[in-house]
Amino acid sequence: MSLSLNDLVAFSIAVCAILMVGSTHLRLNIFLFSLQTMLLVYLSTLYAHHHAEEHLYLIALALFALKAVGVPVFLLRIIRQVHVQRDAGTLLSAPIAMHTALAFLAVSYMLARQLPVPPSAGLGWPGATAAISLVCTGLLLMLTRRIALSQIIGFLVMENGIYLFGLTQTRGMPMLVEMGVMLDVLVGVMISGLLAFRIQKSFEHIDVSMLVDSKE
């Protein structure tokens, strides 16, 4: 029982996310996120081709335009404007966080083996493993970083995980739902990006760990 191309692409999406946790360089993180989303686009077209689902092509196109190109370009612009290159990180150092993400991958492998295999979805578990680990890794990314921008990236990784789960287990959600989710994500990223910019302007940093005390 060897892995099919679909499963390998799904796995490499998870690998991209785990490597993102290991680097505190914001620009590298954004590039890896873009690469990961490109792979997701490729996986969507593969599914669209295999199962003859036309609407997946449209979703893949929107994914490519908005999340693989649009959001990274927007985030790179924000980085240029707020002059941050690296994330200092909190609590866990980058290599330890990466190994924690590996542990999450192992846990999600065990979880995915418990799931019932959907009919006509091939092996089922590789995609589910990748999707669950992607959600966990995004959460880890949000928890272990200081800079507001990294948390946006972590949120986007989580969203990719949810999309991947829907894609591999149920051949994608209906077009309308998917478009709505994508619009929400886009607006969320825009707002939080602008918010990060405003925080930078008022406090001269975007370190969220220093925003715990409220000022009267």
Binding site: S2, A94, P126
Partner: protein
Amino acid sequence: MVNQLYITAFYVLFALLAPPVTLGTICKVKARLQNRIGAPLWQPIFDILKLLRKDETLSKTASWVFRFAAAINCSLAIYLVVSVPWLQPKPEWGGIDLFTFVYLLAAMRLFTLLAAMDTGSAFGAFAASREATLSFLVEPASVLSLASLGIVSNSPQLNIIFGFHNMHAFHPGLWAISGTALLLASIVELSRMPIDDPTTHLELTMVHEAMLLEASGRNLLLFEYANTLKLTVLFGLSAQCYLHLIPLPVDSRWEVYAIGSVVMLLVVAVTVAVFEALAVKLHWTKAPDFIAYAITLAVIGSILALGAGGI
């Protein structure tokens, strides 16, 4: 039978030729990228001839361990070259399993460390401590990346894992991930950039070269030659992993594999050289971060191997 003869001749020829030329290629590409002409490709061979003619100076505190270490290092390296399938097609003789391979490398390192500390030079001892730290950090990466390949091949024998009759066990993702983990691990094992800069002028910060400061003449030749052989074996194994990414037909003639592995070895050497020219040396405390990447890839490879088949 005639085929076996040709294969043996090819292997022996390239086992003699490839190590100096691989090292020469790395130096040449690096020099060109730094806008220098650089030494010719066969400069390592000239270096060997030069060292043969030189006299030797021995430290007064050095014992028999110092000379013995160089000899045993070189003989272990030669044993690795004839028994590890770093070049395909490999003649039938002398296979070893992956654990023997990794721990023979560790044995080589042990004797280098002993030689470095034997002369009583402070630089040598510093470098020995750094080398020991690096080696135990990188060990999981090299063992796990080879073990994950062993799992899908159902055998720990390197000859079977990398043998070209095993080409049909086609797991491109696994070969790519394990090959990259192995390449990163080899960069650390050989203490090249970005872990350590082998061409810097500061001996105090170096790892491998600082250990050999006291060696000279033929003793240095043995150490250097052993290191060149080790470099070729390690990069050759990563090149074999990448060669398995290309779906060559199972019944290809042996020449196809021969040309493929030689070209892939050169590709890996050039890639390493480009990487070394672009990278900056990491601060010593950042080295574990780099090794963490190798370990992560190796662990992902093992998870993939356990999930994808084998056991």
